[in-house]
């Protein structure tokens, strides 16, 4: 009886899920309720978690509840600590969910709501969540080794080196593009700039509080910090209206880029307790709070999606970034569907806390589903805007023209209604001077969130909500920027330490300054080029980031597939093999097009040649001619970088295929490095105090 009841419930979930997905996919009317998106997502996640993830855990990985985890065996009370599963889940989710799942879906909304939504759902349940869970499992069975170490141990030294270089380069490009998103949100906006600037001293106050005034009182200090942040959002409004102060915070994009570069360097050499650690607490609290608030607001308000299911830009002519639906929607939305970066958290960091293998499904698979849900909400927030408004905010000046009237005419010519008055009124409501050409996703997401919050909690505070949303994104973008620069610095110090041991000492100041400067120069270069590029830079940097991130995901899936085959589980190797094949197709196609396409909005080399020809013919306006040589060089550099990514990817794949081929023939391969089983001594519910 009880069992039958369960079956009925699951059939109901299945029917509801299928109807919700069909409603989204088949709707061609004026608008569709966001509730369909939420329903579809929750049903897909529930079914995938209950059946697919459970099957992988029980049948493929053969999770062993009675086996001691590294946290138990190596428990030292510091980094290896068996921890309550909800606490591990919280840590893991806070670590994997950054600005990626917010920015990607917003940009991909240029294709319409459908392609991105489907990819977020399918990519997460079949790709991303599987990758995270399987990597977490393999690392747990290997004393919490990192992805790079596992690649080296199981596949060979090439795989290990590839993972290391891949991680480093992703970091550089990720930071550059996120920096660009913040610059585009702050340019000529005294309110946004002053609020974001205020987060720095606020983080320092919190840092001092936790370090010196009341050591270790994390919650007290964070509460104080969040209150100060909210005051800073309100204070920004006061600065905006103060004639003498607003000039201090009203800057060009380029000035702001230099400030961020200087800030990034300072943050990387400063001690962590002063800035990075306290700001991370603030950003985690604000992030969790805002995402929850957004979910509640969407459920209360049930806003309608105004973006069509598909736009004409699936043909590759999109204003935000060039390139056809296939493969670029799969590159643009990396985080939220599948993100190679997560494999770095799932290996090394999280396994050190895992009390029981039983928790792997919930933490590895479950946390990724939650991140995917964040991406769905970002998609909703971007598509509740009128499409005309969405394109006016996100299209760079190089595509639609610098003047409002030109931009509006161009967007109208695509068939999306928007007027100059409407945009001016919207900017006024949001407390901004202009919302045109704020490419990057943060401002349109903020407008979307502000209108959702405004409708749910009162319209009078739209400008406050808008700047709250900007602050919310900026604060954890800056945390990613700090943390990423620091990780890049450690990696570089580690590499240079092999040549000159002294450089490897993480506390030796000359080495700290030298390596930090190198890392900051790396991302600073791409940020600078992105800002001077009249097409906005996001159109170049975001695909590059997507390709790099998917390449890392492919490496993680390669390692997992290799281990599955070597463990004698070839018949199940498709669980990672299929997403791997898909990612290889997507990444290779995207890379090929980014390098060799004749379309100057897609191909790096075509764009470089086109610009060089125009420069030689003297047809460029003087302002553009001045930066043209730098842009040409950058396009060529990007082409080589993309080639490098694909080459690294294929080397790892061939390496993995060779290992599995040898294994199949019964020839010797690197042995499985799984640690021998030890029975767990932790009693049931031991950590559930």
């Amino acid at each position: 009886m009880h069992k039958n009841f369960k079956i009925i419930i699951w059939i109901a979930v299945l029917v509801l899920g299928v109807s919700a997905v069909s409603a989204i996919a088949l709707n061609r009317g004026e608008s569709i309720s966001a509730m369909w998106f939420i329903t579809a997502a929750l049903c897909v996640y529930a079914i995938a978690y209950r059946f697919y993830a459970a099957w992988i855990a029980a049948t493929v990985l053969v999770i062993d509840e009675t086996r001691a985890t590294p946290a138990e065996r190596l428990d030292n009370g510091r980094d290896f600590i068996p921890t309550n599963k909800w606490v591990v889940f919280g840590h893991h989710f806070a670590a994997i969910a950054g600005p990626g799942p917010l920015v990607g879906p917003t940009l991909a909304a240029q294709f319409g709501y459908l392609p991105g939504t489907l990819w977020i759902l399918i990519g997460a349940v079949l790709g991303g969540a599987v990758q995270d869970m399987v990597t977490l499992f393999f690392s747990t069975r290997r004393n919490a080794r990192s992805l790079g170490q596992m690649a080296r141990d199981e596949i060979g030294p090439i795989g290990g080196a590839a993972a290391l270089i891949g991680t480093f380069l992703i970091m550089i490009i990720l930071i550059a593009v996120l920096g660009l998103v913040v610059v585009n949100a702050m340019k000529h906006s005294p309110w946004a700039t002053s609020t974001v600037a205020a987060t720095i001293p606020i983080a320092m106050i919190v840092g001092f509080y936790m370090r010196n005034f009341r050591p270790g009182r994390v919650l007290e200090a964070s509460t104080l910090g969040v209150v100060l942040l909210l005051l800073a959002v309100a204070g920004g409004g006061w600065i905006e209206h103060n004639e003498s102060l607003r000039g201090l915070f009203d800057h060009e994009g380029l000035t702001l880029a230099w400030v961020i570069i200087a800030y990034g360097f300072a943050a990387a050499v400063m001690p962590v307790w002063l800035l990075l650690a306290p700001r991370d607490y603030l950003s985690t609290f604000v992030k969790l709070g805002t995402v929850t608030l957004l979910a509640v607001a969407i459920i209360i308000l049930q806003p309608h999606i105004h973006m069509p299911a598909l736009t004409q830009f699936t043909d590759g002519s999109g204003p935000i970034f060039g390139g056809k639906l296939f493969p670029f929607v799969f590159i643009t939305i990396a985080c939220g569907a599948i993100s190679g970066f997560h494999a770095l958290i799932s290996s090394g960091t999280t396994p050190k806390l895992l009390a029981n293998e039983r928790d792997i499904r919930m933490i590895g698979y479950g946390a990724m589903l939650l991140e995917s849900f964040v991406a769905i909400m970002a998609m909703i927030a971007a598509t509740v805007l009128e499409p005309g408004v969405f394109f006016a905010i996100n299209s760079p000046a190089g595509v639609v023209g610098k003047e409002a009237i030109d931009a509006v005419a161009k967007i109208n010519s695509w068939g999306f209604a928007v007027s100059v008055e409407q945009m001016n009124q919207l900017a006024k409501d949001m407390g901004e001077s202009s919302l045109f050409a704020r490419t990057g996703g943060a401002p349109s997401l903020a407008v979307g969130m502000a209108s959702i919050f405004g409708n749910a909690f009162g319209k009078s505070m739209l400008a406050l909500w808008y700047h709250f949303a900007i602050m919310f994104e900026a604060i954890f973008i800056l945390t990613t920027l700090d943390a990423g620069t620091r990780v890049g610095r450690f990696m570089l110090q580690d590499m240079l330490g092999n040549i000159w041991p002294k450089m490897g000492r993480t506390s030796w100041m000359p080495s700290v300054i030298f390596t930090s400067a190198l890392v900051v120069a790396g991302w600073g270069y791409f940020l600078y080029i992105g800002v001077i590029d009249p097409n906005g830079g996001v159109n170049i940097l975001w695909p590059l980031f997507g390709i790099a991130n998917q390449m890392l995901a492919a490496i993680a899936l390669c390692v997992a597939t290799g281990i599955l085959v070597k463990s004698g589980k070839s018949k199940y190797a498709w669980i990672t093999g299929l997403p791997l094949v898909w990612l290889v197709i997507v990444t290779s196609t995207a890379a090929w097009q980014k390098i060799f396409s004749d379309d100057i909005r897609v191909g790096f080399l075509a764009a470089a040649n086109d610009l060089a020809t125009k420069l030689a013919a003297g047809v460029l306006p003087p302002q553009k001619a001045a930066v043209a040589p730098q842009l040409i060089f950058n396009q060529q550099l990007d082409a080589y970088l993309t080639m490098f990514f694909v080459a690294v990817l294929w080397v790892v794949i061939i390496d993995m295929l060779y290992v599995t081929y040898k294994y199949m023939l019964g020839k010797p391969v690197l042995p499985i490095t799984e640690v021998a089983r030890e029975p767990s001594r932790l009693v049931e519910n031991w950590v559930r105090d």
Partner: protein, 72 residues
Amino acid sequence: MMFEKLKAFWRYVRRLTGDDAYEQYLKHFAENHSEHRENQTDTTEDTHTPLSREAFFKEWQDKKWKGIKRCC
């Protein structure tokens, strides 16, 4: 009943944020370092007195940010 639940939630929040990290450390210390053990793995540190709250927090925070802790 409700009060118990709130207390459990508060404990969870403290554990998640690291607010009780020092208490956890002291507990671990009391369990593992109080008597002399044969297979002492941590030979580098003084095994008789635990770190002060301040010193522990410094070390805990520095250690936390050595590796990749945040992604995209």
